[in-house]
């Protein structure tokens, strides 16, 4: 970060960036733990994720306050402006990711009540893919590497594919045994939430690309969801 004549400005910007990074760390842990709670059938971990979501919400409020103050007092320009706006957008995405992790944990608690379903492993793998994307995108933000952001942007397709195939498998599963419809539906929602986490990572990748280069990621945003809409299983 380049130095400003007013040192307090530099400090505030740095404080903002590290607050976003820290918030990212909280969400990252929430996602990892929610997946772990589901696959490891660990209610305690799930409850922790739900309880800790407040912290992520607080972090977002704090970041918004900082941004408001920064905009009002410092009138940032060029990269500083991009940095500020990026923080605002990233915080919103991260907050949503935190909510999704909380929702996964809620469903995990219900899923744990039922007999284990073999497809949980598949959902877990999908979750790990999402964790990897989130980690990569946060790493890209911290290390100012545009390459990392671009690679996340392209990986979204993989997650969508995974979701589509899981969707079909779960449908088949439910048709085979109607008694399993309850837990299988919860699992389906978990998968959907994971897929959304992936979407938010893609959003964040776009924001980071813009922050670092000042340009949009060109081309069409990868979208592979259509499969699951048309699926007849």
């Amino acid at each position: 970060m380049t130095d400003h004549t007013v040192k307090a400005f530099t400090d505030e910007l740095e404080g903002l960036v590290s607050a976003v990074s820290r918030m990212g760390g909280l969400a990252e842990k929430a996602v990892i733990d929610s997946i772990r709670a589901m696959s490891g059938r660990d209610i305690r971990v799930a409850q922790e994720v739900i309880a800790n979501d407040v912290e992520i919400d607080d972090a977002q409020r704090d970041i918004e306050k900082r941004i408001m103050r920064l905009l009002a007092l410092r009138h940032p320009m060029a990269k500083d402006l991009r940095q500020t706006i990026a923080a605002l957008k990233l915080a919103a995405d991260i907050e949503r990711i935190g909510d999704l992790a909380r929702s996964i944990s809620r469903r995990a608690i219900t899923i744990i009540d039922h007999e284990p379903i073999a497809l949980t492993r598949s959902v877990e793998r999908m979750g790990k893919l999402a964790c990897n994307q989130l980690k990569q995108v946060l790493d890209a933000y911290n290390s100012h590497q545009v390459g990392g952001a671009i690679s996340v942007w392209f990986q979204d397709e993989e997650l969508d594919d995974h979701y589509a195939s899981l969707f079909r498998e779960l449908l088949t599963y439910m048709m085979e045994d109607p008694r399993k419809i309850g837990p299988a539906t919860h699992l389906l929602f978990v998968a959907k939430n994971i897929e959304r986490i992936g979407d938010h990572c893609t959003n964040m990748a776009e924001v980071i690309h813009f922050l670092e280069t000042g340009e949009d990621i060109s081309g069409v945003r990868p979208k592979g969801e259509t499969d699951s809409y048309n699926s007849k299983a």
């Binding site: 590290s18 820290r22 760390g25 964790c131 980690k135 911290n142 195939s165 079909r168």
Partner: protein, 446 residues
């Protein structure tokens, strides 16, 4: 001795110059010549003394052996002469350690910490490289209370790591600094957890052959007691089931061993060509059995990779055996090797070289700028794998249903391969066109 000399140096020079100068004056020389030549003479003598003293000190401070017999350099001036000594020593410590100041900026980090948290520039806020909320919370607590904080934390992604974190405050020039050190306790905890997992998975898998053996034994005890023909047949089946059990146990054991070391990166340099040769030689009986042939396509030069030779060999053997077992019998298995290639190119080669194929990434390393890889690609003609099964291939005990009926296997082979590759920080790709061919590609950093 040197200290004494340093202390007396100036008075001695002054007195000696005065004495020699005044004695020279007796020879009727002009005063300035007398004084300057005296000073010059004394300075030369002083220089000479200094030299001799330094030589004596060197002799006195020869590295001496301590009680354990290790040679230790005890000369303090040696350390002072080399300002990089401390930082080299710091970097050599395998435990990640970094030091932050009271404004939570990373002031110093050793190599292990830099690698672990991708710290590129010192002086940045700790949150921008360390995101783990537990570590940050512990740091904050240490800052608030200004005393040693020690916490146990666990990370679950990408690998599970258990660590003990210690934050020690210290004071320098009136400012507070905090040493953060992360001690790996994974092996300890993993061993505990592994016992539980092992019992669950292995118990389930061993039950099937065991209940089959028991069933046949009961039949032999009862209705088939005197039936010679049935007895022979049953005994044959029982032997096969027994073999299956022992294969399973071998696989499980090697998998758990690999998993235990998964987060310890290998250090040896392995010659890939040589390892391939070994692997193919030890698979010869199976190759002959399937009346198949291996076609090798190696680069001319040696291919050095960072890895553990027998584990790399195991990857190749597992993949080659799969290629033979699931491929069309009598068809050739193609093995090609490439060297010094970046991640994107390998992905192209590993996933898009069969036209119109489906592909999946089974394992992918974290991107490191400038890192090159060597790859091995094992391709066979055969039934192929459908896209929907691909991402599950490396799962433990996973077998595509229609095949498991007649092909021997434990469902652990690819899980083992994936774990080894994970440990080597490499990647693993699969590509296939159903009814045509399948290719597995793995790559390891150079």
């Amino acid at each position: 001795m040197k200290k004494l000399y340093d202390f007396l140096e100036i008075p001695i020079i002054v007195i000696l110059s005065a004495v020699i100068g005044s004695s020279l004056l007796l020879f009727d020389l002009p005063a300035w010549i007398a004084i300057s030549s005296a000073v010059l003479l004394v300075l030369i003598i002083a220089k000479f003394f200094k030299y001799i003293i330094r030589e004596i000190e060197k002799l006195e401070n020869i590295p001496t052996a301590d009680q354990k017999g290790n040679i230790a350099v005890i000369n303090e001036s040696n350390l002072a002469q080399s300002p990089t000594f401390a930082s080299h020593a710091f970097d050599a410590i395998k435990t990640p350690i970094f030091i932050i100041d009271q404004y939570s900026r990373v002031n110093l980090a050793n190599l292990a910490a830099k690698r672990r948290f991708a710290i590129e520039t010192l002086g940045a806020r700790v949150e921008t490289s360390v995101r783990s909320p537990e570590i940050l919370r512990a740091v904050e607590r240490a800052m608030d209370e200004n005393k040693l904080v020690s916490v146990n934390i666990e990370h679950h992604f990408p690998e599970t790591i258990y660590e003990n974190i210690e934050i020690t405050p210290f004071n320098h020039d009136g400012r507070f600094f905090y040493i953060v050190s992360l001690n790996d306790e994974t092996n300890l905890r993993k061993a505990e957890k592994m016992r539980v997992d092992f019992l669950a998975n292995a118990g389930h898998e061993l039950r099937t052959p065991l209940s089959s053996i028991r069933g046949f034994l009961e039949t032999l005890q009862g209705s088939a007691k005197d039936d010679e023909k049935a007895r022979e047949r049953f005994l044959g089946i029982m032997v096969t089931q027994g073999e299956r059990m022992s294969r399973l146990i071998n696989d499980i054991l090697s998998l758990s061993k690999i998993e235990l070391n998964e987060h310890l990166p290998p250090k040896d340099i392995v010659n890939l060509n040589e390892t391939l040769d070994f692997a193919i030689n030890s698979t010869t009986p199976i190759i002959d059995n399937y009346k198949s042939e291996v076609v090798l396509n190696l680069p001319k030069n040696e291919v050095p990779i960072i890895g553990q030779a027998d584990q790399i060999q195991q990857i190749i053997i597992n993949l080659l055996e799969n290629a033979l077992k699931y491929g069309l019998h009598g068809e050739k298995v193609l093995i090609s090797v490439g060297h010094g290639i970046d991640l994107e190119t390998i992905q192209e080669i590993g996933t898009k070289s069969i036209a119109g194929s489906a592909y999946a990434t089974l394992c992918m390393p974290q991107k490191i700028v400038g890192q090159t890889y060597s790859y091995v690609r094992i391709e066979n003609a055969g039934k192929g794998i459908e896209k929907k099964y691909m991402s599950r291939l490396s799962e433990r005990f996973y077998r595509i249903d229609d095949e498991s009926a007649h092909i021997k296997g434990t469902g652990l082979g690819l899980a083992i391969v994936k774990h080894i590759i994970n440990r080597h920080k490499g990647g693993f790709l699969v590509e296939s066109t159903p009814q045509v061919k399948t290719a597995f590609t793995f790559f390891i950093p150079n």
